[in-house]
Amino acid sequence: MLQYAAIVLIMLGLYGILTKRNVIKIIVSLNILEIGLNLFIVSVGFVDGGLAPIFTSQNATNDLNFVDPLPQALVLTAIVIGVGTTALGLAIAKTIYAKYGTFNLDEMGEK
């Protein structure tokens, strides 16, 4: 179920990039895309009824139904990267605004 939600988010993000003409909105769409992706990654590791993948004194056996911990680790990295990109994007958006006086791609004088 979570996968579907993630895919819907990815699609939304792509839709946003395709249709929005505003620089900020495109960055937001990009973020939605990334969030959808991250959600998707996490959902891959999800096991129905699984436990947190931590060995404690209660569950020190090998046949426990852990969720996959690796996607969560990946998501952490991906989020960090996503934040970095977003920050950079916003910084560039600011320069664009400074240069063109608008956020709308269609109103900028360049080809």
Binding site: I10, I17, I27, V44, L74, T77, T85, I92, M108
Partner: protein, 460 residues
Amino acid sequence: MSAILLIVIPLLAAFLSILVKKYSANILLVVSFASVVLLNYIPLEVITIGGFAAPYGINLILDQYSLIALYAVNVLFFLVVAINCAKFKKLSSILLVALAGLNGMILTGDLFNLFVFMEVSGIAAYLMTTTNQKPLATFNYLVQGTVGSSLYLLGLILLYAMFGTLNMQDMAFQISSSGYHIAVTAFPFLLMFIGFGVEAKLLPFNSWVQGILGSSNRLTGPMIASVYAAAIGFVLGRLLTELFVFEGTLLLIVTAILGFSIVAGEAMAFGAKKVREILLFSSIAQAALVALVFLSGFTGLAALLLIANTAGKLILFLITNTATDQLGNDDISTLQGLFVNNKVVGVSFTVAVLNVLGLPMFFGFVLKMNILLEFFQTDHLLWPAVILIVSVVEGIYFIRLLLKLWFKESDLPQVEFEFTLKYVVVVVAALLILFGVYTAPVEQAADDLTAIQYIEGGNL
């Protein structure tokens, strides 16, 4: 000595250079030179990080393929930096991060790690391109790059979901032994291919190229067109030969993309009126050609072709962008007669062009002949025909460009080329001629690189 130093040292130096801003340029120069030197002392090996064995942990693979890739990337990087470091002091730490990212991309044997390095070097590249003073183009590049890497990540995760591994070798082994229907892996493979396609300038995914390279300066032009192209090309080559299994519709799509990139790239360059546009469109075609050769399985030749092309592009972009920076724009009419007073630079430029065209006595000729020979030996008659027809078009616009740059009666453009630049382009040009005439090591290298594919446990 360990290959990990190639990543660690630049990264450390990057942080260091923020602290000591005054010496950042020197640090950059020293580090980039050091990594070239370092390459000579690193043994070929597979490095596991953190003590986890290969399928579970991240490993770095330093085999002959990545060694030659590292040599190419580091040398080119050093050359670009050596010419530019004084002028772009502010970018020192970013360049260092970029170096770390590029080296990491080439070295890593882990697909997710590759994504990370790709993003690191990508962000460095976005930052670099802000110096073009075209924020819109940079923004465009950023959005497309991010979408591309997201797609790569999506494909990667799908594969992980199917096979439960992120290690390249292991993944390849799992796929080949699992006996899945090919259609199952096709979708993630395509996503990953597209993700790389964005960075590797393959045609439908590369609308950022015009904005970035078309208005590039002396640093970003050679850096994106040459250094980044080399690194991405090598990594794409590794993925294409080791991981991706393209069959059926997917193969059709991919070959169609590549073929279309080659043809359309040359056609666009043919119609272009600005020097940098000519160069960037031709580099689109060449990137696709390299990918095609990788796809056809002629790994060694593809690698060498990549080196020849990126070395050539280094010269071309360095010279063009230097002239453009001084003259204000890069219309052919502005640059016409550029070499009348700059013969040394002109000869190097000419050598680079003839090398790209694959005319005899130059490195490109040897490679082109060998590639065609390989195609013929595998009974592919279509691709040689396409390559040859496209070469005619390529020849026409490059020769036209060369003649414009060499001949003008009066009102010559005044451009100063400093000594380091001259030195660099002459050395690179001389190497292109050397390997064009003395072909034994080239063919040896091509054979070696092709022979080491598909060896379990890291291709040592």
